[in-house]
């Protein structure tokens, strides 16, 4: 598989702060590459270096097999990006913004093509409205439309679901999946909504304090032996008592926010369900919670959520 991005020993020093510290990673063609890290971990600095907004202190970035420092123009022609907030010209309409950035990218599109692009991000009805009247979610969608307007090979989306309502988040998720599967685009997505990354990413990079913690296939990072299940019952006290008297007692982690937390192998979930029924526990919900989020919190030492259960 062709490497689209190859970053080697990338470092950025701001006076006394090392924002990115010898970071190396690769993104392959067709990947939806999840870029994860807590606030201040160095995600945005890394992305800005890929877009030549910030000059690296050291290291090397290669995109489409070319050195970014030497082939900036050619590389950027094939990248579409939303960088943090999707800021556009508020005194222009959605259509005018899209057209302006299309021209900046060297594209002369027809009105129909522009409207199709706006339709894709759900803004065709508001095409002629000034952006200053838009909600954050609409601006976000327009930002994505602008990133895609010149049909780039590599799409970089920094926090693309920021400010979106649940439907908007689902729309963006579907759009990313569509672009990846139907158009074979390579997409780098950074997000603090890790559950979103979990649903779309094929590969994941987790960084902390500018350093790489782990990089790999998203499904491989999810260890099935570490699944967390959250139970909601009509009577949690009774359920907890029954569970502690059963074979599951060692696996019960405690209670949190009206849920009983059990840590088990994913394959054990059907047996747990059967036993709950046999114990006459009136179950409201049983939700496996093992996710990238848990993994992320573990590797970034933020695993308080498993330490704060109460029995």
């Amino acid at each position: 598989m062709q490497q689209i991005v190859r970053v080697t020993d990338l470092t950025k020093q701001f006076k006394n702060l090392t924002a990115v510290d010898h970071l190396s990673y690769t993104v392959n063609e067709g990947d939806v590459y999840g870029f994860l890290g807590q606030n201040g971990a160095g995600k945005s600095t890394s992305i800005r270096m890929m877009l030549t907004l910030i000059k690296p202190t050291a290291g090397h970035i290669e995109i489409f097999g070319m050195d970014l420092a030497k082939n900036r123009r050619e590389i950027l022609r094939n990248i579409g990006a939303v960088i943090e907030k999707p800021d556009v010209y508020k005194y222009l309409s959605a259509y005018d913004n899209l057209q302006l950035f299309a021209r900046l990218s060297g594209i002369r599109s027809t009105r129909k093509q522009m409207m199709d692009q706006l339709e894709m991000v759900g803004l065709a009805q508001r095409a002629e409205d000034k952006v200053k009247t838009f909600s954050q979610g609409m601006k976000q969608r327009l930002g994505i439309g602008i990133a895609l307007v010149h049909n780039p090979q590599l799409i970089i989306l920094d926090e693309p679901t920021n400010g979106l309502d649940p439907q908007g988040i689902a729309d963006i998720r579907n759009l990313i999946l569509h672009l990846s599967r139907e158009s074979n685009k390579t997409i780098i997505v950074s997000s603090h909504l890790l559950s979103e990354i979990e649903q779309i990413a094929t590969r994941v990079l987790i960084i902390d304090k500018g350093k790489k913690l782990v990089e790999g296939n998203a499904t491989e990072l999810l260890d099935p032996a570490q699944t967390i299940v959250e139970l909601q019952t009509l009577d949690n006290a009774f359920a907890l008592q029954q569970l502690q008297l059963s074979n599951w007692t060692d696996k019960v982690q405690g209670q949190r926010n009206n849920t009983i937390v059990i840590k088990l192998d994913r394959k054990e979930i059907p047996a747990l369900h059967t036993d709950l029924m046999n114990m006459q526990i009136q179950l409201l919900s049983l939700q496996p919670r093992h996710s990238l989020e848990d993994y992320f919190l573990q590797v970034t030492s933020g695993n308080q959520h498993v330490d704060t259960y109460t029995n």
């Binding site: 900036r72 950027l76 990006a81 960088i83 943090e84 302006l100 021209r103 990218s105």
Partner: protein, 291 residues
């Protein structure tokens, strides 16, 4: 590059703020013209009161040419603020809106982008001067008619034949455009250091006020600096209205008293433009964009 300039001009002329400057100039000029049309005689008497006994003026001194000169003297002091409103916003405004990072991730070099922005600011400045010329000169010529231009300098009077005036205004407006482009270059330079446009606009005006005071102070220690300050040369457009005289003390038509001063001032202003824009490009190319 041409596409970039077109896009920058499009952005400038789609912003409501741009038209404040055109509106302000129109309002001021129309008020002055209205006042002088209604009460031009009083103004003429006021002008003549110091020399009324020593010479006789025959004809209409309150004509379009004089009105334009009066307005240029009044307005060219304030036009820098209107120029700074746009030029000092060119980079800082983009940083403030958050669009700078999007622009800089497009396949253009920072130098190209900055040059396009400066050229667009230059076009705006020139259009502002053309607007000023249309209202202050052509509209005044239409309302007040033509006549010889009678100017009172500090220690002498200048009377320019009406057939010898128009080209002087053409020269004066071209020079004024160069002066205002220098102001635009200063605003543009300052705009790369800020992430909101208020700071660079205020800083531009502060620089102009500060250096104008230095330029006009008659303190020997500052006299060494004066020739190098751009503010000293901003008003050199007035040189177009000083004539040479012959041995009989008659004005020589088509002459300028001190053309070298105009050339020197133009060169100093050009050097400042190159310095400000070159400095902006040099610094901006090294800058990390964190906005």
């Amino acid at each position: 590059m041409l596409t970039l300039i077109q896009i920058e001009l499009y952005k400038i002329f789609r912003r409501p703020r741009t038209y404040i400057a055109f509106g302000a100039i129109a309002a001021l000029i129309l008020i002055i013209q209205f006042g002088l049309k209604l009460d031009g005689k009083s103004y003429s008497d006021f002008l003549m009161k110091d020399i009324g006994g020593s010479m006789v003026i025959d004809g209409n001194i309150i004509n379009g040419y004089l009105i334009c000169y009066i307005m240029l003297q009044l307005l060219l002091v304030h036009v820098p603020l209107l120029v700074a409103l746009i030029a000092a916003d060119m980079i800082s405004g983009e940083a403030n809106m958050g669009t700078l990072r999007l622009l800089l991730s497009k396949p253009y070099s920072r130098t190209e982008l900055l040059l396009a922005k400066f050229l667009a600011a230059t076009v705006y400045t020139i259009m502002l001067l053309i607007w000023l010329a249309i209202l202050a000169l052509f509209l005044s010529m239409w309302i007040f008619g033509l006549g010889d231009l009678f100017l009172m300098k500090s220690s002498y009077v200048v009377l320019i034949n009406q057939n010898d005036v128009f080209w002087r205004y053409a020269g004066a407006f071209v020079f004024a455009a160069l002066a205002m482009v220098t102001v635009a270059a200063l605003g543009f330079f300052l705009s790369i250091f800020a992430e909101n446009s208020i700071g660079p606009i205020v800083a531009t005006m502060s620089f102009i006020v500060f250096f104008t005071i230095l330029s006009t102070l008659n303190i020997p220690i500052f006299n060494v600096l004066k020739p190098y300050l751009f503010t000293t040369h901003l008003i050199s457009w007035k040189e177009f209205f000083d004539l040479k005289v012959n041995d009989a003390n008659e004005a020589i038509i088509g002459s300028i008293q001190n053309p070298q001063r105009i050339i020197t001032s133009a060169l100093v202003l050009l050097l400042h433009i190159v310095g400000f824009v070159g400095g902006a490009i040099f610094i901006f190319n090294k800058k990390d964009v964190l906005s």
